[in-house]
Symmetry: C2
Subunit: 407 residues, 2 copies
Amino acid sequence: MKVFLASGTAPGAGFLLALFVMLVAAKLMAELFERLRQPAVAGEILAGVLIGPSVLNWVAPTELTNSLAEIGVIFLLFTVGLETKPSTIFKVGKRAALVAIFGVIAPFVGGWLLMRVWGASGIEAMFVGTAMVATSVGITARVLSSMGVLDATTARIILGAAVIDDILGLLILAVVTNLAAGAVNYATLAVTAALAVSFTAFVSLIGARVIRRMTPGIENLFVSHSFFVAGLLLCLGLSVAATYIGVAAIIGAFLAGMAFAEASEDKPTMHQQMSGVTEFLVPIFLVNIGMQLRLEVFRDRRVVALALLITLIAVVTKLVACGLAAWGLGWRRAGQVGMGMVPRGEVGIVVAQIGLGLAVIQQELYGVVLVMAVATTLIAPPFLRLLYASEETRNGKLIDPVGLTDD
Amino acid sequence: MKVFLASGTAPGAGFLLALFVMLVAAKLMAELFERLRQPAVAGEILAGVLIGPSVLNWVAPTELTNSLAEIGVIFLLFTVGLETKPSTIFKVGKRAALVAIFGVIAPFVGGWLLMRVWGASGIEAMFVGTAMVATSVGITARVLSSMGVLDATTARIILGAAVIDDILGLLILAVVTNLAAGAVNYATLAVTAALAVSFTAFVSLIGARVIRRMTPGIENLFVSHSFFVAGLLLCLGLSVAATYIGVAAIIGAFLAGMAFAEASEDKPTMHQQMSGVTEFLVPIFLVNIGMQLRLEVFRDRRVVALALLITLIAVVTKLVACGLAAWGLGWRRAGQVGMGMVPRGEVGIVVAQIGLGLAVIQQELYGVVLVMAVATTLIAPPFLRLLYASEETRNGKLIDPVGLTDD
């Protein structure tokens, strides 16, 4: 197959075939997983494991697939930001913030402790802890929306908390990456953290207003699809800015999306154009993740045991900590919130990839984090369905006694 | 600036910055050109010349920009195909075919002759001739639509002929590429040509019907945005297939688009999702074209003279040959058709790039072809406006005495 991939007469035929194989595999597995009522994301990662060097060895990660994957994850985070109106978060703000903070501290400490006990270095332990922090807004939103409960108070708390989680997780990543980059320099570290926090605060507080004011001007430009193009440019621009500040490019992309969230609310074209880009590039990101997994690391029983333990800790810490933070809503709703926060998905994996790229974590820990991210994503949906299905409904609508919803 | 590009802490920060600079430059120049009522395409190519090694040297073509550009041109040709319903061409079929054939032979022979007289090798002459063949459907369609005359008989003839031109041009490219690839082997050449023709005929005759029949099935798939995803997969799949047959990937992409043209007619979402991909990747293709131009080749007066001569021949041969083929419509309409066929745009440039990639043509000829492609694109629109504006109108609509339009 490698020979097959390398042939073809036109220049670049090999990489076109690789892209084609990656997309076909991703979409076949996505279709299969959706039919089994499992998240497509998990199927697409598995597609990468299958066609990658671990199993079939049809396609291997190259500099090009890595670059396309990075562009893919940047636009993925942009679209997640695009669905994150600051105002929606502010509405369930206090409770969501509490859930988010509990849900960041517990997994980080849990993961870090387990790794230290296991004998890992401090920086490895911190990377694994960081990878366990962020709840996947994308997966959670998709599961809640497929159950038709997006308007429930608990769903709003989950999404709000997941977003705050993402921001906190990415900030922790900024700090940890800085720690990993060289000798610990607390002054630099403080500067980076301060820069990251001010950058986040500045863009999330000012961004939406600036974009709203500029929207008529942008739409009057002569250049075609100017609103979408402006979104692309801000997304890339803030991603680059983020890297210069010393934080991950995806933070910039996420903030750019959030800045466009309100202005693009009544613009379905913008969302469809973004979905065109993400439907093409995100599967490449997910397949590329799977392709980087070396299944042989699991021949070592210790690695398997660690993966299971980390997954267990990842589920229990989020479930208990977030559930506790939402205890005032009653045990069932607390359970919904806790379980809704369990899926880790893309951000955890990005953390693992950055760790792998910096050579801070090795193939074994990358495999462990990948198992944790995929397993938490697969575990949560069926329980969420149970927790929401058993709730009383009136006229097919959830009864919402807490009354935090506004419609 | 090179140092600046290489810094940034996160992996890949350099290429993100390069993409950002390319997109910003492209869109600024596009905006400027649109305001000057010039085609945005020319502005985006010029943006590449400006930021490229020839002038500012901010960004240089790399393997990654080349790959992204190739994906971009593939999706560009897919969207051109998407707007090419086989039925529309069949309606003005005979006249359009005549215009197309005249408009292929004259520039090819003209270009080839001039190059031979100039002292170029046979294969160089053929590459330049091939680059002069194909009329740019994209640019022509955009100019005609901005004048509101897309429904005029002449506009339909122009578009139909431009499409046939593209197909003929790409077939000639297949043959010439094969000639260039090694010693002339007429058996292989015949096989390639036969394969290319059958591939084109097969997909354009059967493709639309197959896709139309499969559309309900595709839309019932569980995978999200399944119709768009199917389009992506066919586009990449036929591009890869084309390279294995021995023709350019863009032929496959164009045919894939044509197969989806009818089925996607009433699906604005599909078009918007494709526009998301092309708005991101086509500027990278165009900027990358400009970045590959070495302006210093024009220090040689002979190169400047050749560029001017080739441009002159490119304009005159298309204008006269296509005008003659449309003479029965009266001189003004014949002029509209002739002038409408002049812009070369993307396909000519792709031919030049393939020639450069195969080392069949050198920097000098690449520059000459680029000047020809951009100049013909800039020359035609003002004359077209004159030729259509002076035509009699009734109630603001063109009088169309030929009666070939159906609405």
